[in-house]
């Protein structure tokens, strides 16, 4: 169970931060379907930094510092990349979906192109690094203690530094968007930009701000995904995480708390699919009554073996769950009113 929860936390963190990224863009009125592409691009920038810096003797002994630097670089490049979307959506009033799709196509193309030209490789690996003695050490894990109680183990054993930063950033930004003046202004631009403009708010600047924060968070999430879930391999894909984050954002009703709940739920179900043998099947089959059923009913055993001992069944659960919950909660769903509509000063 501890193992399952550890995995859940690792899987949920990129989802959490990227869903928040989506929220920031949409709350300011820009549909950011490019989250996937920005994640890929940010992850690539971070991985490249890790690739160049990790052989430096200083960073070999301070690998957590290197992890942090790569995280910052990934966020920075994510923000830069998102400017392409901002420019097309805000200045040229292009369709947000088309601009986002272009970025989603561009990111894998440019990362794979550069990986191949610069490194003559298909993917960038940064999971292990070589230390001064020529030994390979682990790059990622921040804290490795196994003599803790189970609850502390979830948070402090085999965790990554990105986990804590992500939680901190998530809480800070959630407060920022709800409790500060700029946050309120940003949200107003997603609801009624003309009204916001009439009281002197610079709609374009606010939308740029929202999308840029979104880009930085998505870059962060991309690097967090590649460095943790993908075992440190950047290969021009984030396994559709950006799109899933978009789903989680809508699932969470464009609100931080809902996003947190959604990503933890999804992460839990997703990790159940990976660890179901260890966390579900083994405890279940070790019980006496289960063994009795399995011995006495061959028909049930057959069904049990084809469905419940099947990876694909568990893989389906998170998606089906989200779909059902969306169907039931859609009545309460409230998207920002002006999202996806180019800001037109004259349309009051």
């Amino acid at each position: 169970m501890v193992f399952l929860l550890q995995k859940t936390l690792i899987f949920a963190i990129p989802l959490l931060i990227v869903a928040l990224a989506g929220m920031f863009a949409e709350r300011s009125g820009i549909i950011n379907i490019a989250l996937d592409g920005i994640m890929i691009f940010g992850a690539f920038a971070g991985a490249m930094a890790a690739f160049y810096l990790r052989s430096n003797p200083f960073f070999v002994s301070h690998n957590q510092l290197l992890f942090l630097i790569c995280l910052v670089i990934a966020s920075l490049f994510g923000a830069l990349f998102s400017l392409l979307l901002s420019f097309s959506a805000i200045n040229l009033k292009a369709d947000h979906t088309i601009g986002g799709t272009a970025l989603n196509l561009l990111a894998p193309a440019i990362t794979l192109f550069l990986t191949k030209v610069l490194f003559n490789k298909d993917k960038l690996e940064m999971a292990t690094m070589v230390n001064a003695e020529g030994q390979r050490t682990d790059f990622g894990y921040a804290i490795l203690k196994d003599d803790l109680n189970p609850v502390a183990q979830i948070f402090f054993d085999k965790t990554y530094i990105s986990t804590f930063i992500a939680i901190g950033v998530f809480i800070l930004l959630s407060f920022w968007i709800y409790k500060t003046k700029t946050g309120l202004r940003l949200r107003s631009c997603g609801e009624h930009p003309q009204a916001a403009a009439s009281v002197g708010i610079n709609v374009k600047a606010m939308r740029y701000l929202g999308t840029t924060i979104s880009g930085a968070l998505a870059g962060f999430g991309g690097y967090a995904f590649v460095a943790t879930v993908a075992n440190g391999t950047a290969e021009g894909t984030v396994a559709g995480m950006g799109f899933l984050a978009l789903a989680i954002m809508i699932f969470g009703n464009w609100k931080p708390l809902g996003i947190a709940l959604g990503s933890l739920l999804f992460g839990f179900l997703k990790c159940l699919a990976v660890t179901y043998e260890r966390s579900l099947i083994e405890p279940l089959e070790s019980t006496a009554w289960m063994q009795k059923i399995l011995e006495n009913s061959p028909a049930f055993t057959n069904f049990y073996n084809t469905v419940f001992k099947n990876m694909y069944f568990y893989n389906l659960i998170p998606f089906v769950t989200v779909l059902i919950v969306l169907a039931f909660t859609s009545k309460k769903s409230r998207a920002p009113k002006a999202e996806g509509i180019p800001y037109d000063k004259g349309a009051r």
């Binding site: 379907i33 392409l84 097309s88 040229l92 009033k93 292009a94 369709d95 979906t97 088309i98 601009g99 799709t101 272009a102 970025l103 196509l105 561009l106 894998p108 193309a109 440019i110 794979l112 192109f113 191949k116 030209v117 610069l118 396994a239 559709g240 799109f243 899933l244 978009l246 789903a247 809508i250 699932f251 084809t306 099947n310 990876m311 694909y312 069944f313 893989n315 389906l316 998606f319 089906v320 989200v322 779909l323 969306l326 169907a327 859609s330 769903s333 998207a335």
Partner: protein
């Protein structure tokens, strides 16, 4: 309405014609994309000492020459045939995405629909032994079952949109991954029957030719010797034309488009906008699935069954194909072939220059980025023409300025007639 035009006006209206503007805008986007691609190659040449300028120039020429970069006539024919063959599923997914766009829906679920179509086609194409019925019948059944499965799969996002008002993009993303897992599950459960054990790698389903099922080639594979080309390219072109006719010449197509322009207005005009959403997505799903079925029923193609961690690229590539064609079904044929054309060119890059097969992808991404500005470009084209001929003011034509605005939206008039028809029923 405004048919009392002078010759002079007819001349200028050429560039103001929406179709012409779309084509010109697309061409400008393509030129821009190629230019940026070339600049990227030059940039790499400047910053890398291993890459020379001549390499960058020859690189863009190889991409531009597509299958003609193959060299001798025999290879060009082979390459050209395969280009057309690989364009067929892309045309279908492109049609799928463009139809959904016409109804105001973003069908990002084409990969899932594609997988369901492939599964249906393979289950039937390999499941019915060739002794039991003529192979052409099996082929037809396989195509129909594949298409039907995709239709159902496409209808799911439509249903959720219409019934629960859940964003179709989200449902499409979820159903994509569901399809990937279901397909893997079905084939994993029936490995003995379907998986290709003849070859050393067991990730692939048996080819349907092993059951005698394959698409008729009409000698196309002889013409483009050695390629996989078959009649499917003709079939998809016919489907594209049919779709064009349906969208532009039928009441149903009109309703779909009206839903896309303004859902509330179409509801007000008496259309069943919820039914139209479901139908549009169902047809879109059927189209994508039909493309996959045709691909698999070629008989000589590998299908990777253990696909639960990845989605087929052809599904996603339908989006650029549709966008590049401004969602015109006939245009999708050309845009898809163009995408495959530069892809083919890109496949020769790695062997001859320091660059690689991702250059065409990069160019396509930039083209789509520019396609987002197509409205901007079209506005620019219109504005330019208006400035060039300022003497078009109705006041100068000695006519009474009747209450007829210059830009009557074309929707208003037919809407009334459609509403009338609905009322008659």
């Amino acid at each position: 309405m405004k048919k009392t035009t002078t010759v002079n006006e007819n001349k200028t209206s050429f560039f103001q014609h929406p179709a012409v503007q779309s084509v010109v805008a697309s061409l400008i986007c393509i030129l821009g994309g190629l230019l940026v691609g070339f600049l990227v190659l030059l940039f790499m040449a400047i910053f890398s000492k291993d890459i020379s300028f001549s390499e960058a120039i020859s690189g863009i020429f190889i991409v531009l020459s597509g299958p003609f970069a193959a060299g001798n006539a025999k290879d060009i024919l082979f390459s050209f045939g395969n280009m057309l063959f690989t364009a067929t599923p892309l045309i279908m997914t492109g049609l799928s995405v463009s139809l959904a766009f016409k109804t105001g829906l973003f069908n990002i679920g084409a990969p899932g629909q594609y997988l369901m179509g492939a599964m249906g086609a393979l289950l039937v194409g390999l499941g019915i032994p060739q002794e039991s019925m003529p192979t052409w019948l099996i082929w037809l059944l396989a195509l129909l079952v594949g298409t039907l499965l995709g239709m159902i799969w496409g209808a799911i996002p439509g249903f959720f949109k219409a019934k629960f008002n859940v964003n179709e993009v989200i449902v499409c993303i979820l159903t994509n991954w569901m399809a990937a897992n279901i397909v893997s599950w079905v084939f994993a459960a029936n490995k003995e029957q379907y998986v290709n054990y003849a070859e050393t790698k067991t990730n692939f389903i048996r080819k349907t030719i092993s059951n005698g099922v394959s698409t008729a080639t009409f000698g196309l594979d002889k013409l483009f010797k050695g390629s996989y080309l078959d009649a499917s390219i003709i079939i998809v072109c016919v489907i594209a034309v049919l779709l064009y006719v349906m969208l532009n010449k039928t009441t149903f197509g009109y309703e779909l488009k009206a839903c896309g322009y303004n859902r509330n207005a179409s509801k007000y005009a008496g259309m069943n906008e919820k039914r139209n959403i479901v139908l549009s997505m169902a047809i879109a799903g059927a189209l994508a699935a039909c493309g996959a079925a045709l691909w698999c029923l070629n008989g000589k193609q590998d299908f990777k069954w253990d696909t639960y961690q990845s989605l087929p690229a052809d599904g996603f590539n339908g989006i650029p194909a549709a966008l590049l064609a401004s969602n015109n079904p006939i245009g999708v044929i050309f845009s898809s072939i163009f995408l495959r054309y530069i892809d083919k060119g890109g496949s020769y890059l790695a062997g001859r220059t320091s660059f690689n097969e991702y250059v065409p992808q990069l160019i396509v991404a930039v083209i789509i980025y520019f396609a987002g500005f197509s409205k901007f470009i079209k506005d620019f084209l219109s504005r330019k023409k208006k400035n060039a001929a300022p003497a078009k003011s109705p006041l100068l034509e000695n006519k009474v300025p009747v209450a007829e605005p210059v830009s009557v939206p074309p929707v208003t008039e037919p809407t009334a007639s459609v509403a009338g028809e609905e009322a008659d029923k």
